[in-house]
């Protein structure tokens, strides 16, 4: 099918927003304080809003008669193209913030490039999302600094989260095999080129937070190819329950 590569590329961007948005919305009503609860839920809504724009576009490109809801709710686990990082569970607040921080820094760099994409719709979605994501990055980096440079306990917890989630960062920069043609046409972004700037940026903030930078050279990968961690199935069970149990149900 003619748009297949582009549709896969859209999934690889939109699924990150969908799955992270789902993870964050699990925290609705459970944030550590009223203020952070609302802050995190706002980010969840931003991400789900972005997901809708991408999926509406992907559904339009598809030759099948599908809607954004089919893409969000009715694919199987192997068909989701999100990175492993965003599906990691909300172990504690330090994990939530670190996962957000490691993703936001990447997300912002990606959108800054994507706003110049040769594909007008992707460019327009990126331009609209960039303001939201700039704030997400500000929110999460401030919290990394606050927890890192806070009490002994907060420092230990966020250092633990950074050490454990670090292994998922490299995958952010893997292109899909099907992206090369799109990269040549100026539609997709060559993610490998964002890597250096990304690590410089996050290392600067991690150091400012008085945290140490993990030295591990081993990185996890697979999400972008549909091979997810054991957490993904549970997340999808939650996400897809309504549509699977009551097909075509509407609000």
């Amino acid at each position: 099918m003619k748009n297949d590569n582009l549709i896969q590329y859209i999934y690889s961007i939109a699924d990150n927003a969908l799955i992270l948005g789902q993870r964050l919305s699990e925290l609705c009503g459970h944030g550590p304080s009223l203020e952070t609860d609302i802050g995190i839920t706002n980010m969840a809504l931003d991400l789900l809003g972005q997901t809708r724009s991408y999926f509406q576009y992907a559904a339009k490109l598809s030759e099948e008669d599908i809607t954004e809801d089919d893409l969000a709710y009715l694919r199987t686990e192997r068909q989701y193209r999100n990175v492993l990082l965003v599906e990691q569970p909300n172990r504690d607040f330090a994990y939530v913030i670190t996962r957000q921080f490691l993703f936001d820094a990447f997300h912002l760099l990606l959108l800054q490039k994507l706003q110049n994409s040769a594909d007008e719709t992707l460019s327009a979605i990126a331009k609209k999302s960039i303001k939201e994501v700039s704030y997400h990055f500000r929110f999460s980096s401030d919290w990394v600094k606050r927890l890192g440079d806070g009490t002994d306990k907060s420092h230990a917890k966020i250092q633990d989260a950074v050490d454990n989630l670090w292994t998922y960062t490299d995958e952010l920069f893997h292109n899909l095999g099907t992206d090369s043609e799109l990269i040549e046409k100026g539609i997709a972004i060559d993610l490998t080129k964002l890597k250096e700037e990304y690590y410089n940026k996050i290392k600067e903030i991690i150091s400012e937070a008085t945290l140490s930078i993990p030295e591990s050279k081993y990185f996890q990968k697979g999400g972008k190819k549909g091979i997810h961690t054991e957490h993904m199935g549970y997340l999808l069970a939650d996400l897809q329950y309504m549509q699977r149990t009551y097909p075509n149900m509407k609000w």
Partner: protein, 94 residues
């Protein structure tokens, strides 16, 4: 969780040209966090173009017990309102 963060007062200007008005209060550990929390809690429905936050302890408030001596003396001094002038018809917007 017991919240030990100090209380902050939030002032939001809803449009350019208008003044900042008191919107409410919230808890935050530092000024930067207070600003971000205020943005998330009080401006998510497009209420504002500018935010001020100030730690509540820096506000000195009048004591309600003193209301009699502070405010009541002004109540019977109608001559302090500029309502005793005859305005020419040509003067508008006064």
């Amino acid at each position: 969780m017991k919240n030990n963060w100090p209380l902050w007062e939030v002032f939001v200007r809803s449009k350019n040209g208008l003044e900042h008005r008191h919107f409410g209060s919230l808890h935050a550990a530092d000024a930067e966090m207070a600003l971000e929390n205020a943005r998330d809690v009080y401006t998510r429905r497009n209420e504002g173009v500018s935010i001020w936050v100030v730690e509540s302890k820096h506000i000195t408030a009048s004591n309600p017990d003193d209301n009699a001596e502070l405010f009541e003396p002004a109540k019977d001094k109608v001559y302090r309102h500029p309502t005793f002038y005859d305005l020419p018809d040509e003067v508008k917007h006064m």
